[in-house]
């Protein structure tokens, strides 16, 4: 039979380190049912019959946070064979508070005092035998970081599971014990004796969740209530406070007899660091520097190199191991011959001539810069053409070591076996592109997760919340929301995953819903396209996109925190600032890998399926009444775009091209530009800002409707990769759906207001549109200024 040992303890007590030390690589990571709280389980090293369950880090078994409720439910209903309670020896007083509660559950408990090396170094002495005696359970000293004593602790827990019972030695004051005895007798006599005490104390505390679970009859409750009331009168406090007070009084007496602190009042190393890091004046500049480093490493440098390599190399044509700069030079030098060849062949075709024999033909070739301005004019003659044609086009494979990308390798393989065109397209444009969309983000994400794991485990992340709390809580967000938003300016996928560091469920959900409003790097080409095509590259277009994003976050935060969905959970109001310490490489790397892998697994499926679906819609359609592969212009997607286009008439772009581009943008936002390239001019490839199609776009869009299109695409549902990340982090289909619907609805409302009010102020407004726009503005203003009272009781239910 498998022995189950539950690992319980405060956050920052070294629980993760102990769990890793005990189980090694033998871990299973999932979620507790229905919630985003992580559930880890592993087998004890060298013992296949001993399971270690890592419970969430908690301070108490109160019914007010999700983590606490999960832990309580697990301990009282699943009843593991023993509890291994890890306790931070440098912070014994508060850590033992949870211990006093765990020993009442009627389960064998072993207390492992962690950081014992640090306690000794400080010159403090903990009397282990005395503590063990007074707590009524075995106490062992360990150092999880150094690995000393951890397996002895596990052995003790196995022993305890097999042989011992833990009977709490602590007794409350007379009046309380009297009431508890009455409660046990009146309501719990049918329950096993060793479980009665915990339930009796919870009933005494009027714990709503326990009362609901036990379904006591009304007269038992009124009978019990009398006992509680009389205890409350005698002690002049409410029942919950009486219990908490007495626990801490008891712990104070334990500390007095078992703990000898050498020096008090001297500053520790951690205090000294904090004097600088959270200093009134230095805190914000230091915060800015740390954030810049995170951004610089994960978004601009290492992260971008990794993503570019994954997207353009591994899942693109291929990449250079060496010699890429030499190839770049050669490719630039080839631009002129290429332009000459193109211009000559095009004009020959127009004249109905074969370019090889069109000796008398004269034409002009143009070289363009990044904005489509003519950089150079070249008069082309037949002679020039033959010279240019003789120039060898540089082949990347000739420069340094060129490694073929996966699609190229697969394409060559498929061509070699004469694969059918549609199957080849499915494999390359559907599946490989889909897998690439998933995996392309992983390298960058790993870089970010590495940095986050470091910031979290060294203790700086708690300081981020401390420093930024004031600003972010107004919008229903946490101080820690800053990091996801910052990362989202690069890519929303790691941004959403970075929300993992926010403990409070409400703040985390709010962050996930709003963080994609920030323009990510893939939206920059859309901004460049609209700015170039419609606004003559006006300087204000790009900054305005960021303002739209920030306003969307602020408005949404304030509106959503007043809704029922978000009001149901309490805000964090007290938070520990743990002592700084240097994290181990193993813990940081493990945390990085766990998060990366969970993205690949959970988010990957949805991204892959969605990419294949859009590929199908975009490549198939009816041509001359037969179904088959067609150009995008005739595809099912175009039909679908035409069908839903009327929806977008009120926001200014009821043309099917816009609708189709918005849909292909779901695969990756930069696809909007590529799709416009196909739909507005038949270019299979356009520049990043799409200058080739600017003129054609001006025929269909007005500046106002184009800006409305931009606003919609910035704010609406993000790309599939980000949707997958949302699904992964919400761990709940309903919440994912809510997030996407809210984003689309908000995007539509914002574009409508922009377009209709724009029409009105330019003198072309229509009554219905303007009224709707004003109604939306009014509704938002009403939600913004509606009075609001923070709810402070956890109402969400957690399945047992």
């Amino acid at each position: 039979m498998t022995i189950k040992i539950a690992l319980a303890g405060n956050p920052n007590s070294g629980k993760t380190t102990l769990f890793n030390a005990l189980t090694g690589s033998n871990q299973f990571i999932g979620n507790w049912p229905g919630v985003t709280v992580e559930r880890k389980e592993g087998k004890l090293k060298k013992h296949t019959d001993i399971a270690i369950i890592d419970l969430p880090g908690i301070y108490s078994l109160s019914p007010y946070t999700m983590e606490e409720v999960i832990t309580r439910n697990y301990l009282t209903t699943e009843r593991p064979n023993a509890i291994l309670n890890i306790v931070d020896g440098t912070n014994l007083e508060r850590n033992l508070y949870l211990t006093t509660q765990l020993t009442e559950l009627g389960l064998p408990v072993v207390v492992a005092i962690n950081l014992m090396d640090l306690v000794k170094k400080n010159g403090d002495i903990i009397n282990i035998e005395e503590l063990s005696d007074r707590l009524g359970c075995k106490v062992v000293a360990i150092s999880a970081l150094k690995g000393s004593g951890v397996f002895e602790a596990a052995e003790e827990a196995i022993n305890a599971a097999k042989n011992t019972k833990t009977i709490p030695k602590h007794r409350f004051s007379g009046a309380v014990e009297h009431a508890i005895a009455h409660i046990e007798e009146a309501a719990l006599h049918s329950m096993p004796e060793n479980q009665q005490r915990w339930y009796a104390i919870k009933i005494f505390e009027r714990d709503e969740k326990v009362l609901k679970q036990l379904e006591l009859s009304a007269d038992i409750i009124s009978h019990i209530e009398k006992d509680i009331k009389s205890a409350e009168e005698e002690m002049d406090d409410d029942a919950e406070s009486i219990i908490t007070n007495e626990r801490y009084l008891y712990i104070a007496s334990l500390i007095k007899s078992c703990y000898n602190k050498k020096n008090t009042g001297q500053l520790t190393a951690s205090d000294k660091i904090d004097r600088v890091v959270t200093n009134r004046w230095a805190a914000l500049p230091i915060f800015a520097v740390v954030m810049f480093c995170v951004y610089f490493l994960s978004v601009t440098t290492v992260g971008t190199w990794a993503t570019d390599w994954a997207n353009d190399g591994l899942f693109g044509d291929g990449w250079h191991l060496f010699g890429s700069s030499a190839y770049k030079e050669a490719a630039e030098a080839y631009a002129e011959p290429a332009a000459i060849i193109e211009a000559f062949e095009a004009s020959a075709q127009k004249a109905g001539l074969e370019p090889q024999t069109a000796t008398g033909l004269n034409t002009t070739a143009y070289l363009y810069d990044d904005n489509g301005n003519i950089e150079k004019k070249i008069a082309v003659t037949y002679e020039k053409y033959t010279q240019a044609a003789a120039v060898q086009e540089p082949d990347p494979a000739d420069y340094g070591i060129w490694v073929l990308g996966l699609p190229t390798v697969i394409r060559n393989g498929l061509a070699a076996v004469n694969c059918a065109a549609w199957l080849q397209s499915l494999i390359l444009d559907g599946i490989v592109a889909g897998v690439g969309a998933v995996l392309g983000f992983v390298p960058q994400m790993l870089v970010l997760f590495l940095l986050l794991a470091f910031l979290e485990s060294c203790g700086y992340m708690a300081r981020v919340a401390f420093v930024m709390d004031r600003i972010f809580r107004r919008f229903g967000l946490s101080g820690k929301s800053f990091i996801p938003m910052l990362i989202s300016t690069g890519c929303a996928v790691p941004g959403i995953m970075a929300g993992r560091t926010i403990e409070n469920a409400r703040d985390r959900k709010m962050t996930i819903v709003t963080t994609t409003f920030i323009p990510c790097s893939a939206k920059l080409p859309i901004i460049a396209l609209i700015a170039g095509a419609m606004f003559n590259n006006a300087w204000w277009v790009a900054p305005s996109a960021y303002f739209v994003g920030i306003f969307a976050i602020i408005i949404s935060g304030i509106m959503l925190k007043k809704t029922k969905m978000f009001a149901g959970e309490p805000a964090p109001f007290v938070m520990e600032l743990p002592a700084y310490h240097w994290p181990t490489a193993e813990n940081v790397l493990r945390s990085m890998w766990e998060r990366g892998w969970s993205f690949i697994k959970k988010a990957g499926t949805i991204i892959l399926l969605a990419t294949i679906l859009i590929w199908f819609l975009a490549s198939f359609g009816f041509d001359n009444q037969t179904f088959g592969m067609v150009d995008m212009n005739d595809s099912l997607l175009a039909v679908l775009g035409g069908f839903i286009a009327p929806v977008f008439i009120p926001i200014g772009w009821g043309q099917w091209q816009g609708a189709v581009a918005a849909i292909t943008g779901l695969i990756a936002k930069e696809n909007v530009v590529g799709t416009f390239g196909i739909l507005f001019g038949g270019f299979s490839e356009v520049a990043e800002n799409g200058w080739q199609i600017w003129a054609n776009m001006r025929l269909v869009f007005s500046p106002l409707s184009a800006y409305s299109f931009l606003v919609f695409n910035l704010l609406c549902a993000p790309c599939f990769a980000a949707i997958g990340a949302i699904r992964r982090e919400m761990n709940n289909a309903k919440w994912t759906l809510f997030a996407l619907s809210y984003q689309c609805l908000f995007a539509y409302a914002a574009s409508l207001v922009v377009y209709q009010l724009g029409l009105l102020f330019s003198g072309n407004g229509n009554a219905l549109g303007s009224i709707t726009a004003f109604l939306i503005v009014g509704l938002i203003a009403y939600r913004l200024f509606k009075p609001y009272e923070e709810n402070r009781i956890l109402k969400s239910t957690v399945r047992a």
């Binding site: 007010y64 440098t90 007083e93 508060r94 406070s241 200093n279 309490p570 109001f573 600032l577 002592a579």
Partner: protein, 75 residues
């Protein structure tokens, strides 16, 4: 009534009574701020809120809004 909200940085205080009820009060008590507990105000966050308090040998961050529920006296 003197509350933790009005306390100055560096002050050493003793908790007289906890006001309020429900989750907030319980959470504050769970973290070790109970009747008679000694507190030392370490610092204010750069933007003036929250407060950092030393309690039972560790550092705790608490918002002013919640700190006003904690009645204190000079130690």
């Amino acid at each position: 009534m003197n509350t933790l909200k009005q306390a100055k940085v560096g002050e050493r205080l003793r908790v007289v009574k906890l006001h309020g009820q429900g989750a907030v009060k319980r959470r504050i008590m769970d973290m070790g701020i109970t009747k008679g507990t000694e507190l030392q105000i370490r610092k204010l966050a750069p933007l003036g809120d929250p407060i950092e308090v030393n309690v039972r040998g560790y550092e705790l961050s608490i918002r002013k809004e919640d700190a006003q529920m904690i009645e204190v006296e000079k130690n």
